[in-house]
């Protein structure tokens, strides 16, 4: 934790010693000063460094919570001054057992180095499987966010997507192999689109605050699925009497394994990568994507420029919902489904909300979302093992995710804690320079508080 501190002090001394680059008639670049470059790593302007330190801080807070919540360890704190070793060693035990199983579940287990390749790559493939829905969700939040809307209704949209995909999965079994799967996937997208589109319509035409509408629709979808639909004769699995669970999807609709039958990754990952390319293209190249960004930056200016703001808001919510629907697809038809590819009330598994943290950490950039998904997918995969091996509730992962996002959103705080330099030392080489205005999901006040569309 204290490593950056000497760096900073040195840097402060060196900065004053470094002469300013002399003005030259020719725009000749001064030589590379590696010392300055390395020091520039430890500044609050370096997003990667801030992210790294934010993760570190979140893990530290998580460790504190793990210790504080272990009543046995806390009892030893009562006689800390009599025998500090007891407390310290059991606190260390708590933390190390939790975080080592987190690592083993997410990256690799050193014990499997001599094992089969399936054992060795098992944790990584789990991470990829957990990352898949997060990629969809992160992209979904990003698309809505860029249009100035905060879609926290992923839970509802993915549930409706899952309902549609599941229905096609178990009832339209007459469809031939691959076609059945494609139709089921499309049905999931349509389900999510419908549920998301309603929100876009209410926002654009009725000026309803999308945060409230989406969260309310989440509960509606949850109650509809768990309280009613799964008990109807159409959906309820007669073999599971007394359980709210649907009929299992036909085998032709199930997403096949990606890396062989032993590894826990399905082709949903390919969909996710394709979706990332598509969203990246959408933002960069498509007309609608341009309009979305324009509306998100300043609706009034976009309207003046002749963009139909309502249409853009509805369209972005449709796309956002469709991507959320894909989570429903992978949750029902993918390997992530623990119930033999059938629908259960807790199908959403908190993904609608994890997606928010993913999109924020990825700063609503498509490939940033992929990076954040891999990180949070790793935390989820590791958290599952941590829960069984170290008896540390997987809820800690939610805490860590939320903390990471808060710390990343407040680089100033990270800077204060680690005493980072506020700004980069100018190397005179003009790196970075005047970059294009970047998206910053954490400081978009203007786009968010605009209530009631354009009317």
């Amino acid at each position: 934790m204290s490593t950056p501190e000497p760096e900073k002090n040195e840097a402060a001394g060196a900065a004053s010693a470094t002469p300013a680059p002399e003005p030259k008639p020719k725009p000749d670049r001064p030589p590379r000063d590696w010392g300055v470059i390395i020091r520039n790593v430890f500044t609050a302007e370096n997003g990667a460094m801030v992210t790294f330190l934010a993760i570190l801080l979140a893990l530290v807070v998580g460790a504190i919570m793990i210790v504080l919540s272990n009543t046995d360890t806390m009892n030893q704190l009562g006689y800390f001054f009599a025998s500090p070793g007891d407390f310290l060693s059991s606190a260390w035990n708590d933390i190390s057992s939790a975080y080592s199983s987190l690592f083993k579940g997410a990256i690799f287990d050193p014990a499997t180095v001599s094992g089969t390749p399936e054992q060795f790559f098992g944790p990584i493939s789990n991470t990829l499987e957990y990352a898949t829905p997060l990629i969809f969700g992160g992209l979904a939040i990003s698309v809505a966010f860029r249009a100035g809307m905060f879609n926290i209704g992923g839970q509802g949209q993915l549930i409706v997507g899952a309902i549609f995909a599941s229905y096609v999965g178990f009832s339209w079994t007459a469809l031939p192999g691959l076609l059945h799967m494609i139709v089921a996937v499309l049905a999931g997208i349509v389900g999510g689109m419908l549920y998301g589109g309603v929100v876009g319509w209410l926002k654009a035409k009725r000026g309803a605050h999308e945060v409230i509408v989406t969260i309310m629709l989440n509960y509606v979808a949850l109650l509809f699925l768990g309280g009613w639909l799964l008990n109807t004769s159409v959906f309820h699995n007669p073999a599971a009497a007394g359980q709210a669970i649907s009929k299992p999807a036909g085998s032709t609709a199930v997403l096949p394994h990606l890396f062989g039958d032993q590894l826990f990754t399905d082709i949903g990952l390919l969909f996710a990568i394709a979706a990332t390319f598509a969203v990246a293209w959408f933002f960069k190249r498509s007309k609608l994507g341009f309009e979305v960004r324009a509306v998100g930056l300043r609706p009034s200016a976009a309207k003046t420029a002749g963009i139909n703001v309502s249409r853009v808001q509805i369209a972005s919510m449709l796309i956002s919902g469709g991507l959320m629907g894909l989570i429903g697809v992978t949750q029902t038809l993918g390997l992530a489904n623990p119930n033999n590819n059938s629908l259960s009330p807790n199908i959403d598994a908190g993904l609608g909300f994890s997606a928010i943290t993913v999109a924020l950490l990825g700063r609503t950039r498509p490939w940033g979302v992929v990076g954040a998904s891999l990180l949070f997918g790793a935390l989820q995969a590791g958290g599952a093992l941590m829960q069984t091996q170290a008896q540390v509730s997987i809820e800690i992962i939610t805490v860590i995710q939320a903390l990471i996002v808060i710390f990343v959103a407040a680089p100033q705080l990270v800077k204060e804690i680690f005493r980072l330099r506020a700004h980069k030392i100018d190397t005179g080489r003009g790196e970075g320079g005047e970059a294009a205005p970047t998206v910053d999901p954490f400081h978009t006040t203007e786009t968010i508080t605009v209530a009631g569309g354009e009317e």
Partner: protein, 434 residues
């Protein structure tokens, strides 16, 4: 121009906006009338109410108690049709009659009330148990308590220029802190204080990150809710689920019967409630008075509308925002105390189940005023308790759909009123002194 300007209360409106407003008024009114017509058909003309089906209104909280008012029996069909027709009239009046702003709110109120009554008459038609009116009133008032506290909390924040989406998280934190403290100390009052402080802690986090680190406040609120859900869920798993007897006991404040008032027929039960219930209802006029009749209130509103101007006349903008947001956290925390110690229930994961967001909706629907938010909170409170209120009747609607009522009603009301409301001008915008 004359009708439009009375309708909007804004005489400098350009002609285009007036046309849009007239059209919006027409669409809203006609939609309301169509929905009411559907209700007429659904509640008044179905087999459930046909023939000589009667709806019994029980007017005593305990129907078996001696004395008091006897039950009223009314012919279901006629009553349902009458109230549906009244609702249709309200919708049409909304669409075509030149109503002033104040009158419009009353018409909306009558509209909602008639539809609710028609629905209740239809639900209870033919039931021998009947509708227990005092019980429904008491349930509604109880269901409204957390919503009132939450929307007052949101009100304090937004009036001083900070958006508080984190009400949900403050509820959860307050509820958790209240239960764990009350269970381990055995003192309800210690629990209540801890619950308020738990909410205030979340409020402080919101204040610091919004005012000092300038994080976008809607995003921040949602992430804080996630944090609260994670922290309380984690601690529940680690501490409460294994040692429930020690750390998660269901304890509750006992009811205080106010002599005299408690024996009023029909609404007497409202005066036989616990201290947090009374506190919530007393806080509505108190906050109104503080906000509109005191120096603090004037300053708060100034900071929420135009912080730069407030700063110019010497009001400490950031300091006031900190104080108000943390105070608001105390109120939400009290809402969390109600959910646990007020209802004598143990803590459960995510037990606030969206009530924080419903409270926020009540604030918006109530147009950022304490009285309006109170009215909206009562409406949503009724929807929240609908499932409980109708549990003794043999309702034709599956329980899940009744449980959806608060959420659906919120969506409908927010959609109906959303575009017409205007938040405090500086709400959600951090102030950077420069």
């Amino acid at each position: 121009m004359s009708t439009a300007s009375t309708a909007t209360g804004n005489e400098t409106l350009p002609a285009v906006a007036v046309a849009a407003d007239t059209r919006a008024k027409l669409i809203t009114g006609i939609t309301q009338a169509v929905i009411a017509a559907l209700c007429l058909w659904g509640f008044g003309l179905t087999s459930r109410v046909s023939g000589d089906a009667h709806t019994v209104f029980v007017l005593k909280f305990d129907p078996n108690a001696p004395g008091g008012l006897g039950p009223i029996s009314a012919p279901s069909q006629e009553v349902a049709i009458a109230f549906s027709a009244l609702a249709i009239l309200c919708g049409l009046a909304r669409a075509f009659a030149p109503l002033s702003k104040k009158l419009r709110i009353w018409v909306d109120g009558v509209y909602f009330a008639s539809i609710v009554i028609a629905f209740l008459v239809w639900v209870a038609a033919g039931s021998t148990v009947g509708l227990n009116v005092p019980s429904i009133i008491a349930l509604t008032a109880g269901g409204a308590v957390p919503l009132i506290l939450g929307s007052l909390s949101g009100l304090l924040c937004e009036r001083s220029g900070v958006v508080n989406i984190a009400i949900e998280g403050q509820f959860l934190f307050g509820a958790f802190a209240a239960v764990i403290t009350a269970s381990s100390t055995g003192s309800l009052w210690a629990g209540a204080i801890a619950g308020c402080l738990g909410g205030a802690l979340m409020g402080a986090l919101l204040a610091v990150f919004a005012n000092r680190y300038l994080i976008e406040q809607v995003v921040l609120g949602v992430v804080l809710n996630l944090l609260a859900s994670g922290v309380t869920g984690f601690l529940y798993d680690r501490v409460m689920s294994t040692n429930g007897g020690t750390y998660n006991k269901a304890m509750g404040f006992s009811a205080i019967r106010i002599p005299g008032l408690a024996s009023i027929p029909i609404i007497g039960e409202l005066f036989n409630q616990n201290i947090i219930f009374y506190l919530a209802y007393i806080l509505v006029p108190v906050i109104w008075f503080l906000l509109f009749r005191t120096r603090w209130g004037l300053r708060t509103r100034a900071v929420g509308e135009h912080p730069t101007a407030a700063d110019t006349v010497g009001i400490k903008v950031i300091g006031l925002r900190y104080r108000n947001v943390i105070t608001a956290g105390l109120l939400s925390g009290l809402g969390g105390v109600w959910l646990t110690l007020g209802l004598a229930s143990a803590f459960g994961k995510d037990m606030s189940s969206g009530k924080g967001y419903i409270a926020l909706a009540a604030l918006i629907v109530g147009r950022w005023s304490p009285i309006g938010a109170f009215g909206a909170a009562v409406l949503f409170g009724f929807a929240t308790e609908l499932q409980v209120a109708l549990s003794s009747l043999n309702t034709p609607i599956p329980g899940a759909f009744l449980a959806m009522a608060p959420y659906l009603v919120t969506v409908f009301v927010v959609a109906a009123m959303g575009g017409l409301t205007r938040p405090p001008a500086a709400s959600g915008k951090p102030y950077i002194k420069g």
